[in-house]
Subunit: 244 residues, 2 copies
DNA sequence: GAGTGTAGATGCCTGCACATATCGGTGTCA
DNA sequence: TGACACCGATATGTGCAGGCATCTACACTC
């Protein structure tokens, strides 16, 4: 599944990124390139390339005569795929899931609205076909096929919006959907309501009814989020201070 | 303003990133590390570090025995600050502005809703103070101060949501607002309606009225987007195909 | 068509020179 | 005596040059 990339660069990046995300290397901590070479048992070039990548996503800064300093979480790019993955595997998993769910709840209704206005016709047709098959398959309880279709449904909506920032959320949504089934949060049969909402969204998009598409999508998302919310219950929120 | 970072690494990254974004180095194009050394007149380490960063944001892939291949735009991370900046300075500026505006229209209402539910009290108080000063300053036509306050207003909302993904959009929003004034798209006095909307959002958040906050925020955002939309009129949309 | 050899590219390592930010000492002035 | 400005020493990232290791696309053989 996850493509093996056993290069030393990759390994070094993984180790450092994970240590920072878990708080093992706390914000403000200063490391020396030389000590990282010894610790990771790799050469300077590997350390430097890993540090450069971490720098580009805001996790460290490198200062002459000082070393490599770990930056606080509010400096990190929370849209970076590595950071999302590392946080998913850490104590911050709940907070990460919540952040993604809230982002989804913001984006998907607007994506549906835009898809109703802009999506190419073949995409709209396929969307309805997928929704209709979801109904059939869902009622039969074929959950593995249902997951496939569900994933494709949301991917089509996000892609059909014609907004590339929305489209890149496909991967995150897919992971969320997959996680929901593997974590046993899905019932044996999808709720009849949920099936209907997918149909409503698909029909509205096919008919170019933007407002209806947004409303139906919002209803659907908010419902699924309520199902998922136990995953992050009690996770504290972080309010990053505004700068000036 | 823009922090000077005249390191060779930074320069190499800028040059390569910009060339890819402008299409000067099209998707599928394959380069050799050696040729990049010669072309950029830098050493192997600088080239390799720049390539590693580009790789981490999905702009290139590096394959043994082949070289460094430029990836198509749908592989890029559209949330990366470098990519956004490069696109802003390219022909894709309009499309980039539209993507950001749509993202904002999705996120800000939800952020307002969450702020009404979760923001710490001092933030809510300050939000109302800022909105009130915006009204006074706006009516006096002190546009430079108005821009400051407007920026802070939106930053407080995004930060007050307690969602770190929303909070990182502060920078993009600030740039949009600043760009609107420097591009002469702001009237001499803000519209009275706009002032009122800011007040409505601030009051709803202060009072913890989530739905009202979302609605007022949505109204506000959609209005400002209509003002801005000429910036990207006629830009073609891109629909990235869904994979499986 | 399957197996194999090889050229050619990235991956990784090392030693060195350079630039620069920090630290500590010294001297001057109030 | 104390505060402050200057200045040199030193540690550390930055960049360079080159070498060997490793993998793999491709051509060649059978």
């Amino acid at each position: 599944m996850t493509s093996r990339q056993p290069s030393l660069h990759h390994q070094a990046l993984e180790i450092l990124g994970r240590r920072i995300v878990t708080g093992d290397l706390p914000a403000g901590h200063v490391m020396l390139a030389e000590s990282l070479e010894a610790e990771l048992k790799v050469s300077r070039s590997v350390v430097r390339e890993a540090v450069r990548v971490l720098q580009s996503i805001g996790m460290v800064e490198s200062i002459k005569r000082v070393g490599i300093r770990v930056l606080p979480p509010q400096a990190w790019n929370p849209f970076d795929a590595n950071i999302i993955r590392w946080r998913m595997d850490s104590d911050a998993r709940g907070a990460q899931l919540r952040a993604l769910a809230e982002l989804r709840s913001a984006v998907e209704p607007v994506a549906s609205e835009l898809a109703a206005q802009n999506a190419p016709f073949p995409m709209r047709r396929e969307l309805l076909q997928v929704a209709e098959e979801m109904v059939r398959v869902g009622r039969q309880g074929k959950m593995e096929r249902f997951l496939e279709l569900d994933t494709r449904f949301h991917a089509l909506v996000l892609s059909g919006s014609g907004n590339e920032m929305f489209a890149t959320l496909i991967g995150q949504v897919a992971e969320t959907l997959a996680g929901r089934t593997t974590h046993g949060l899905m019932p044996a049969h999808p709720k009849e309501e949920a099936l209907q909402w997918h149909l409503d969204v698909a029909r509205a998009i096919l008919d170019g009814k933007a407002t209806a598409a947004r409303r139906a999508s919002a209803k659907m998302i908010n419902e699924t989020i309520e199902d998922l919310s136990p995953e992050w219950a009690g996770q504290p929120r972080v309010f990053v201070p505004v700068k000036p």
